[in-house]
């Protein structure tokens, strides 16, 4: 969109209204977070994000070391090195770029490196495709990264800043993916409020280094020596590190909630950290959404309410770790729910979010019927009309007519 010329007004003393797309919002959040090292490689639909970052560096607005790497694999590798030397780091990627990044990607959580990486979500090849969809991010949902999904441009901006605080918290110390949907959020332009730089500085504080594991001649150590095997203590040692990682993931639920509460106090915007409940308290059924489809879903809920139908919505913000208690609490208020996925789980003939909700529901006393819906693949639109069909199918499910396979929302579009 209109690339607002970066200038000193980027770092104001008070908050400021600007108009930009989600990619630029993420880049401006990065400016506010003052990372030490940023490494970039462009890929659709992320490119304008790293173009903005590069321009901010060129203009002196972002005082980070910029590494224009020759591919995503090196992007993440350079950031691993920088992290181990004590840097606050950031990058962004998408789809095939994420796939190419996979080897260092799976290693990052085990090294407990607190980096923030935006995923501008895109459907995975093949069919060959350059459009939005969450298949890329969902494909790495079991790698040990924290995953957060945003609803709109403002939430992208606020969440990228908050993600640094989450990643660096001593009870977490894990890498964080902030996901925003390719196309609808990457290029979608809207009005957002930029928090004051000084207030963000107070909020984030000094970059917290994982100084337990570091490469510094002042404190020589071997980083990530071979661990495990069947030698004496090997198994116990490996299990200890894995348990610590799993515990840190669980801690992220609490820590992210605290961070959101603080954000709300300081900046006046109160986002739901784990799941958001919308018009749910007296609802008969709910639709569960994730990402940029949520706004249209809320409008569809309002339209249903206008028709006299008691519909609510549950938006998933934190997806990894999965907020199962919050999800069960929300689902316990309704008689049936639809889960709208923007990707598929090949193993379970449903969406991955659907699979997670099913698993969470196992712990719930009320096993309500679930309707699986899959829409928005490869940039397809999920409109009010689509949500009206979702709602109708969910009322039918509440009445006992539960579809055994997914409802493909864009099947005839």
């Amino acid at each position: 969109m209109n690339q607002l010329t970066p200038n000193s007004s980027l770092m104001p003393n008070s908050s400021q209204m600007i108009v930009c797309d989600g990619n630029e919002a993420a880049a401006r959040a990065v400016v506010l977070a003052r990372p030490d090292v940023v490494s970039v490689f462009p890929i659709t639909p992320q490119s304008s994000l790293v173009e903005s970052l590069s321009q901010f560096v060129a203009d002196g607005v972002l005082g980070a070391e910029l590494i224009n790497a020759e591919g995503e694999h090196s992007v993440l590798s350079a950031l691993q090195g920088a992290c181990l030397a004590g840097a606050r780091t950031y990058t962004a990627t998408s789809g095939p770029g994420l796939a190419f990044m996979f080897e260092p990607y799976v290693r990052t959580p085990g090294l407990r490196l607190p980096m923030v990486v935006s995923l501008v979500t895109r459907d995975m090849l093949s069919p060959q495709c350059v459009w939005g969809g969450q298949q890329d991010a969902m494909s790495v949902r079991e790698c040990g990264w924290i995953q957060i999904y945003c609803e709109d441009v403002q939430e992208v901006l606020d969440t990228v800043v908050m993600a640094f605080k989450l990643a660096e918290h001593k009870d977490v110390l894990l890498p964080v993916n902030v996901c925003h949907d390719g196309n609808y959020l990457s290029y979608g332009v809207s009005r957002v409020e930029m928090p004051a730089a000084g207030l963000v500085d107070e909020f984030l504080g000094e970059a917290a280094v994982n100084w337990h594991i570091a490469l510094d001649p002042a404190r020589p150590m071997a980083v990530d020596p071979l661990t495990g095997g069947t030698g004496p203590g090997g198994a116990a040692s490996f299990v200890g590190y894995r348990k610590s990682q799993v515990r840190a993931m669980a801690n992220a639920l609490r820590v992210f909630s605290d961070i959101h509460a603080e954000w709300g106090e300081r900046f006046g915007r109160h986002w739901a950290p784990l799941v958001e409940e919308y018009r749910l308290d007296d609802a008969d059924i709910a639709i569960v959404t994730i990402g940029s489809m949520t706004g249209a879903g809320k409008d569809a809920v309002d339209a249903a309410r206008d028709r006299g139908e008691k519909v609510g919505l549950i938006k998933v913000k934190m997806y990894r770790p999965f907020p199962r208690e919050a999800m069960v609490a929300a689902l316990s208020k309704v008689k049936a729910a639809a889960i709208v996925d923007r990707s598929v789980s090949f193993a379970w003939e449903c969406g991955p979010l659907h699979q997670d909700v099913m698993t969470a529901l196992f712990a719930s006393p009320a096993r309500i019927p679930l309707v699986g819906c899959i829409g928005g693949l490869a940039g397809a639109d999920i409109t009010g009309e689509h949500f009206a069909r979702v709602i109708a199918a969910t009322f039918q499910a509440a009445g006992g007519d539960i579809p055994s396979s997914p409802v493909w929302l864009n099947e005839h579009d």
Partner: protein, 316 residues
């Protein structure tokens, strides 16, 4: 061996200069008997010293216990396992952050040929292009010797390896190895040089230059490292094999800077026949006279190519 006679004074001089320096590795590394890589890294890190960070991608160098396991390490300076694929990029990230903090730290890769020539090449190429201020040392033993002697992109024509075996049909590797030092010269690195552990005075001089060059840009050292275990020759012969590689022009010693171009640091004019070298090595024992002619021809061709670079450099 009489071959060492010409280096008598060099040995004494290097001993005087380096023996009192601290060995940055523990005495007990589990490299094979006669391991050339162990020799090379001990000399290297003695020279570089404590203010350094070492990356050892998967291969013999971490395999001998430098990085360590289950809480114990073999190295006195910070050391880590990068991936086989990302050593140069990761070192670049480390260096950038130290430069940002205003600290002078030498970051050095002790990589095998796999981490440089094969899957590590993209990362190496990108870091060289960006001029990351790191020292990348490739210890080239022409294959994956740590994991059972599989072939790499650096494995030379005719070599027996466990993935280019000799049988009724197969006659070892059917293509030439990739000559990485020439490719690195094409990147315009601040410094590129080849080296051999039989010529350690030459190596130490190049290491000094590479360290200096790495303050301004990417420095690359390619050390030819015959492997007694994987190549099938007696451990005691390691240094003699290295020497014979150079004396036959199978390995040439040269250095490159963008300003000075390519310069041989040891003459290539009167080589021994390449068979003098090849006959020492078990991995070549199946080769036919025609195979040996092909090896001699490709050795001659490479020398001519490098001489061409040198002539152009001298003319400029």
């Amino acid at each position: 061996g009489k071959g060492a006679l010409e280096h008598l004074s060099a040995a004494a001089r290097l001993h005087q200069a380096h023996a009192a320096r601290e060995d940055m590795f523990v005495p007990g590394l589990s490299a094979c008997q006669g391991c050339n890589s162990e020799l090379l890294i001990r000399h290297t890190m003695r020279r570089i010293g404590r203010d350094s960070i070492v990356a050892a991608p998967p291969g013999c160098i971490p395999g001998m216990g430098t990085v360590g396991y289950n809480g114990q390490t073999g190295t006195k300076v910070p050391i880590f396992h990068p991936l086989l694929t990302n050593t140069a990029a990761m070192l670049g990230g480390i260096k950038r952050q130290y430069e940002r903090k205003g600290r002078d730290v030498t970051v050095v890769a002790l990589a095998g040929d796999g981490g440089a020539v094969d899957v590590g090449f993209q990362s190496l190429s990108g870091a060289a292009e960006r001029g990351e201020r790191v020292l990348f040392i490739c210890v080239d033993n022409e294959g994956y010797m740590n994991t059972g002697m599989q072939a790499s992109g650096s494995t030379t024509f005719g070599s027996w390896t466990s993935t280019t075996p000799v049988g009724e049909v197969g006659r070892g590797k059917s293509t030439d190895g990739k000559y990485l030092p020439q490719l690195m010269m094409g990147h315009g690195c601040a410094y590129v040089a080849t080296a051999s552990t039989a010529f350690l005075d030459d190596y130490h001089a190049k290491l000094d230059k590479a360290l200096e060059a790495s303050r301004a840009g990417f420095a690359y050292l390619h050390v030819h490292a015959p492997c007694p275990t994987g190549w099938r020759f007696p451990a005691a012969m390691t240094t003699e094999v290295c020497r014979r590689q150079v004396e036959s022009n199978f390995v040439t010693l040269w250095e490159f800077t963008p300003a000075g171009g390519l310069r041989f640091t040891r003459g290539v004019e009167h080589p021994r026949p390449v068979t003098d070298y090849v006959r020492m090595i078990g991995k070549y024992k199946h080769l036919s006279p025609a195979d040996l002619e092909r090896i001699q021809a490709s050795v001659d061709r490479r020398v001519e190519t490098l001489q061409g670079f040198q002539r152009r450099s001298a003319a400029e």
